[in-house]
Each structure stands twice: as structure tokens, then as C-alpha cells.
Symmetry: C2
Subunit: 353 residues, 2 copies
């Protein structure tokens, strides 16, 4: 880094976001314009770009990023998308991803965003930022659109096997999110299951339900929910293991695409329908915009000692900007500090979580 | 039963379907018209209705079911939707559901269909029909619509926890289905996972992949598939545990509904769009009809010593008729005998499944 970004203490109102400029399918050619879009939405943001200085400078010039808003830290090395997390972790020194995460650890930045290798980001974030006391495993969380309001769903693939304690901790992580970011005073938390009756589902899910029903936390346990509830705004937070969560997430993507493409094909199937489609196009575009997955890009790594957000590897600039804005919201809201306080209270109460 | 339905041996071309007339939310008022709709599609079918003779006769008169096509077996007792499977099993004697299943066991019928309590149907079918040699647990399977062809997905909730052997057996059950019912010479079978790389996912899923890659069975193992592949006709059969499968199924239902209702609301949001919607309505109805969940109703209980199909409890007559037709297809194709043969060959080969 050439000079410190600001000699003042980091301010929550102007959070510094560390960006892994080399991550994802497109590297700086998405990260820089993505940052520019985020800056247009939130002019108080500041960035540190980690990666190859040449290409970064070139993209910054193209996108006319104002000088006070950014800093560049050259990093020679890059973690590839197909590196195994364990190998990536061992050979992570000097990579753009690791340097960006370390900036959060040292307090230079208040959040990190990367579109790189998910497993490596998870492993490196855990190694560098550590999990908070009371959190055994961090969770990958995403926001799903809903009829009335969004729903946070976690875990989405970081933990394919979980125990009941993990699920309870995810519930706490989700409740703090909903309280701070959705401004819900007492967030409703549901456990994803195969039915709503108490006797349904795997043992660890029922054990988590039993704990949550009596736990004093920043949310209220709302019982079991089902796959049909994911987009129904039934609850504020839905908790599940990473295997089911990832399958639900990708099923939702696939079904949404299948349905929209099927309707498109139907409209293009005859002249009258085509004409109708033209007349309805502006209204349909409004709906499509509302559910545009790019607006929901950014999987949050919750439960760590710092804010880390994973952008989709194939994200474009708009999608990447959503991930940056999500990271900024968590940093500004003091999410990490709130989780630490909440966990501390729960652990001191002697509750078994 | 008054008299035997036919003195001749049961014929695969005119299968007898045992129907639990009291099952589901609507009992005979859906089961009888559902049977009538199935008969209109497939006039060779024959039915035995199990349940309260009075209401059954009344509905038969209303729907003018031709006398040679059916028989009634009076059953006083009914298993309720909220009975626990274990309690239902203990107190099942003389219930319409149990009597219908027993008709398959005794050879009076070649398949049973019930819209009643899923857990009870599963437990009773296992107790009466038994699993086939080599099958540790039966699976609940359903057909998902796809871009080019349907995909059979199993398990969908009968087994929330499975081991790798269960998954391998589900793969075999699915492959035999695809071969017989979809007429695919060498069905492609995928394992549902959180990524397509070999290192991804829970241990038991990776262990099942290792076995399937070398197993000589009526299909070909096509690797890991993801939630996005459910409607992509990527493979003929998708295998997963019942927890993930049930969540995927219900997520698909929820997302499909959310998308279609969102588009409807968008079209109704302004006058021009409404006019467009009117012009496009016939084409949109064609698409909606193609993905009508009622056409895919009927979860198949595979791996048992007889054909058993679960209709959705809230099914209407059209949906119930789909379940009846699915049962008839399995019976006609000799599905149970084919699975028994296939399992026998695999077990004799010494393969560990």
C-alpha cells in the first residue's frame, strides 16, 4: 500500500471495503466497474483494490473512479477458481484474496468482498478472521426475494454436514442480521424441514428446534418451515444445513429460469401472443427487475471476526456492486460487534448452544 | 368383496388398481371422479374401491362409472391424516388403506393408490408388501417436468437420513423406472450435490458416487448434478436423500407459484399490460398446462414387493387420475418384477450395494 487511505480512524459512516480485484471469472474488468456502481449508490464508500496494479489502474481510468475513493495494493499472486481450499490456504501468501482479508483483520478495511474460489475464501477467512466465540462454523447466507419482504437463508453450502449446535448458532447469526439490516425488532426464525409437525425431520433439526424454542436470543423461533416458504416471506430467517440450503438455492434459480423461459417461449409461439407480449413488456420487465438475481448477489460469510462477502464468480458489474453494498451495510451496522455481544450474553447465561 | 372381479388371472393389459377411497382431504368425492377420468384415458383399467360403501356408491352413480370396471370392498375404518405412522400401523386392521394394500399383496390388484397419510402409507406398504431383496428402504419418487424430457427424482421425503447404500439402491430403482416407463435404453443417473466436482458434498454422497461409477446396472452414472439441473433434463434420474429431495420439491413448487403469480400481478398492474395479457392468454395457458402440477401428481413408492402410489392429499379429480395412471403404467410395465430381477443379478454378481 502506498500511503494510508486516511489518517483518521476508520469511520462506520465511510467504511473501507477491501476488494479482491482478481477474483471471479472476469477480475478487474468486473470488480472496478462494480465498485464504481456501488460508489454511485453510496458515495461515502472507500475501496482498497488488491491485485495486479496495471490492469487495475487501466480499469480505474476507464471507469473514471474518483481518486479519493480508492487505494491500490499490488498483489502478484492469485488463487485460482479450481484450487482446492486446503491447497489454496497453504499457498495463499501474497495472493490478492488473502491480502484483502488481512486488511480487515488489521483494521485497514471494515469488510472484504471477493468473487473468487468460495472454498478458499471460506478457509482463508476462517484462518485470518477467526470465528467469533460461540460460533463453531461460519455460515454462508443469502437473501431471497419474497412476496412482502426478503428472507435471509443460511447455510447455503459452506457446511454440508451440521449438528444441532451449528443450526442454533446459524439462527442467532441470522436473527442479528434481520434485526440490524432488515430493522425487524424481533426477527422470526424458521428451521427448514420436510414438514411442519414437531415429529418430522432429522434428529439434529428436531434437537435444534427444542433448543431454539427455549433460547433467549434476538429473535423468536417460528417453528419448521418448508421449501414452499422460501419466497413466501413466512419468516425473516430460514436456517438449514449447507447441503439442503445449496440445493434449495440452486433449485430456486433453476425453476425461476425454467418458468421465465417457458413463458417467453409461449409468448413467442404465435403472432397474437407476441403482440400481447410487446404490450405487456414494460410491466413484465418491472417484475423481472424485482427478482433480478444480480440484485441479490453476495453471499455473506457470517460468524467471523470481520465482514466477508462472496460475490458470484460469474457476476457482472451490477451484481458485483450488490455484493459490495451488502458488505457495506454489514460494516456500517456493526454486525460483527453485535454478534459478538449477543453470543457473549448467551454464553454467559449458561445456555447450551 | 362381493365376488371376484374376474375369474381369469390378472392381466397386465387390464390391471386392477386398488383405490383407498377414503384417503386425502376429500375421500370418495375426489377418488371416484378421479378414477372415472383415468378410465376415460385408459378404458382397460379396473378398480376396487375400499371404504364406506354408501358414499362410494353415491359418487359412482353421479359419475356414471360403468359397472364392469369396478368393485367395492366395504371398509369401516379410516386412517386419519394426522395419525402418527407407528400408531396408524398398530391400529390399521380393517382400514380402507390397509385393505387396499393387502389387495396388492394377495394378487387381487396389481397396484394401490392412496391420497391418505404419507407416513402411514409408507409404513403399511412396507409391512404388507415388504421391500424387495437388496432394497433396504423404499423411496418416494416423483417426475419433474423438464426442458426436453421428464426427470425422475428420488427420494422425496420417505428417508430423511440415508447412507451410501440407500442412495445406490435408489439409483437402481430409478434406472429401472426410466428404462421401462421412459423407454430410455441406458438411463443417465445423477446424484444431487452441492457442486459437480468429485471432492464436493457429504461423505455418503461421494461414497455412493464411487460405487455407482463401477456398478454394472441398467443405467449409467452421470456424476453429480445440482439443484439447477432439476428441470433441465440433464439426466433421466436424480438421486438424493429425502431431506434435500423434499426441500427441492417444495422449493420448486414455491418458486414456480411465486414466479407465475408475480407475472400475473405484473400483467394486471396496468391497462396496456392487461390487454397484452389477454392477447397472450391462450399461449400462456398452453405453458401453464404443460407444467400443471396436477399432471405430475403421484409419488411412487419404489422398491416394494408391489406397486404403491401416493396421491397428494389435496389432489382434485384430475390430479388423482394422474396418480392412478402412473400406478397403471408401473403395473403394466412389470416394474416390480424387473427390479427384483435386476437386484438379483446385482446381488449375485457380488457387488456391494
Amino acid at each position: 500500500m502506498n500511503t494510508p487511505l486516511s489518517s483518521a480512524a476508520p469511520s462506520l459512516s465511510s467504511p473501507v471495503i477491501a476488494l479482491d480485484a482478481m477474483g471471479g471469472d472476469f477480475g478487474p474488468s468486473v470488480v472496478i466497474p462494480g465498485a464504481a456502481l456501488a460508489l454511485a449508490q453510496d458515495p461515502a464508500l472507500q475501496f482498497i483494490f488488491f491485485g495486479e496494479e496495471g490492469p487495475i489502474r487501466q480499469m480505474i481510468a476507464t471507469h473514471a473512479l474518483p481518486a479519493p475513493s480508492y487505494h491500490i495494493v499490488h498483489a502478484e499472486r492469485v488463487i485460482r477458481g479450481d484450487d482446492k481450499p486446503s491447497a489454496a490456504l497453504r499457498a495463499s501468501k501474497g495472493t490478492s484474496m488473502r491480502a484483502a482479508i488481512e486488511a480487515v483483520d488489521t483494521g485497514r478495511a471494515q469488510a472484504v468482498v471477493s468473487a473468487g474460489n468460495t472454498g478458499a475464501l471460506m478457509a482463508l477467512s476462517m484462518a485470518v478472521l477467526k470465528t467469533l466465540p460461540g460460533v463453531h462454523r461460519p455460515a454462508l447466507a443469502s437473501v431471497f426475494p419474497g412476496e412482502r419482504c426478503d428472507t435471509l437463508v443460511l447455510d447455503l453450502g459452506a457446511n454440508v454436514l451440521v449438528d444441532s449446535e451449528n443450526l442454533v448458532q446459524f439462527a442467532i447469526l441470522g436473527a442479528v442480521y434481520a434485526k440490524l439490516i432488515k430493522n425487524v425488532p424481533t426477527p422470526r426464525v424458521g428451521l427448514l424441514n420436510v414438514g411442519t409437525e414437531e415429529t418430522k425431520g432429522p434428529d439434529h433439526v428436531r434437537a435444534a428446534a427444542a433448543t431454539l424454542a427455549h433460547l433467549n436470543f434476538h429473535g423468536v423461533y417460528a417453528g419448521f418451515v418448508e421449501g414452499t416458504d422460501l419466497l413466501r416471506s413466512a419468516v425473516d430467517v430460514i436456517v438449514c444445513d449447507g447441503y439442503a440450503g445449496n440445493i434449495a438455492l440452486k433449485t430456486a434459480e433453476g425453476v425461476s429460469k425454467f418458468t421465465i423461459e417457458g413463458i417467453k417461449a409461449a409468448i413467442n409461439s404465435d403472432l397474437m401472443a407476441k403482440l400481447g407480449g410487446l404490450l405487456a413488456a414494460p410491466a413484465l420487465r418491472r417484475f423481472k427487475k424485482k427478482i433480478d438475481p444480480r440484485l441479490y448477489n453476495g453471499a455473506l460469510l457470517l460468524g467471523l471476526g470481520g465482514v466477508a462477502v462472496k460475490s458470484h464468480g460469474g457476476a457482472d458489474a451490477l451484481a458485483f456492486s450488490s455484493a459490495v453494498l451488502a458488505a457495506a451495510r454489514l460494516a456500517r451496522a456493526g454486525y460483527v460487534e453485535s454478534v459478538a455481544r449477543e453470543m457473549n450474553i448467551i454464553l454467559e447465561s449458561g445456555a447450551q448452544i
